[in-house]
Amino acid sequence: MKAPILGALFRWRYVRPVLQAPLLIVSVLMILHGLFGPSLAPKNLATTLTWLHFRGVLVLVILCAGNFFCLACPFMLVRQMARRVLKPRWNWPRALRNKWISVGLFVLILFLYELFDLWSSPWWTAWLIIAYFASVLLVDGLFKHASFCKFVCPIGQFNFVASTLSPFEVKVREQSICTLCETKDCIRGRRESASDLVVIRGCELALFQPRKVGNMDCTFCLDCVHACPHDNIGILSRLPGSELLTDPLRSGIGYFFKRKDMAALAIVFCFGALLNAFGMVSPVYAVEKWLAHLMGVSHEAPVLGTIFVFFLVLEPILLLGVAAWLSRAWAGIRRSLVPLAVRYTYGLVPLGFGMWLAHYGFHFLTGLYTIVPVTQSAVAGLGYAFLGEPRWTLTGLPANVVQVIEIGFLLLGFAGSLTVTHGLAAEDSPNRTLRAFLPWAAVCAILWICAIWLIFQPMEMRATMMLMSG
């Protein structure tokens, strides 16, 4: 925040709507082109921007900076405008103040993505965006604070987990200043002295800055920055992934090892990365055909469901369960099996992020320039020729070059997971660290080998709800 120009920009109260507005306009254009434009995905803004550019830029921005996509979220701009009229009446139900709904939605979106081949359908992609806007308005129209962001939004949960590896964090500069602060504006909001009305809101995600640790649940909305009367909160640099090495009491979250819902989110994040990539390579069709024959079904849904159960439930239970049992037995760690498995699950986040970077990075970089002819075509379709004839030969970087970058991302993720799990093992068993660490290193190695195998598989994309034949 001390950086010239950028610091002033982020300290400005209206930075968020200024960043959100262009993305809202783009979202509307995507919806319109998805509904009324060409039905072929490579020719449509909805599919090109969503499945290539949005996903790719998202993971790269999180890797290089932080959760700035949540800062610029267009859904929140619409919500904010709606809240001038719709005043939410209720607090989010206490029993639902966890990640289970968002985990379920995350899995559902991954499932629907495969079942309906969302990547191939501008129309369905447009409706997904519309559904997202509707969901935000419904949830945050009824419930106070940022209930949608904290408890529902699947994209937000993805961003929260991934940004545990970001190099920047919204945090307090000097703890001593917070100790002396009596008004706690960062969470209560800046209030008018006479009426006690909130004039600048505080954190809507219940993250009390002096006790906030890391980026989990932080949308980078900067409400705390703007509310703080002492200019004591900033976007500060840190060692990426360092927040995964410790498990202190986190404001608005608690202890990671007690949060099975967050561990489930981390599991979906990590194992879902491999699953999502697996859905695009040739072997998946052989597996689907074999399963369909075994199950005696002809529709893709039960086959896909079985694959999802294997990847997201059975495989994690097996790998994490065995590793937890081994490290406990071998290194004499005194934690119970389930809390131990939960604790080390977060160590797999770097690997999962590496896989998402490799996958989304591949599509983004190989299709980098396709936005040019798609935009040219969209404008020409409206009758304006000033952008010229669409240059459909423009694509992106060569696949063989991008594959090297993918390997780099996977190596980074592997190194990150080994570092985190080693750090946890050293804390759990200072005298037998290697024994505590090796089972988890083996899990990391197995997942990493699977990821490497995946990126070398030939891609094959079938865009129909296939009957299990041929």
Binding site: L40, D117, H363, T370, M461
Partner: protein
Amino acid sequence: MTGAHLTTEADMTHAGMSPVFGSVQENQPGRYESTLKLGMAGDWVVLLHGTLPTGEKVERQFELRNVRPNQARC
């Protein structure tokens, strides 16, 4: 129909994949042939662009499912 000027383009169903372009030859009167080298397995959509002898623009689209990475003649 003879004397039409046609080109072909093949796209995968996922955005961002490199399209393949081909020229079209009229080997026999009214019979047109194009060769497209499809480098990736999966579903493709072939687009036919062109101009008829009458000057009328023509656009056609048809699907090729379960393509194996090989040459496709259409």
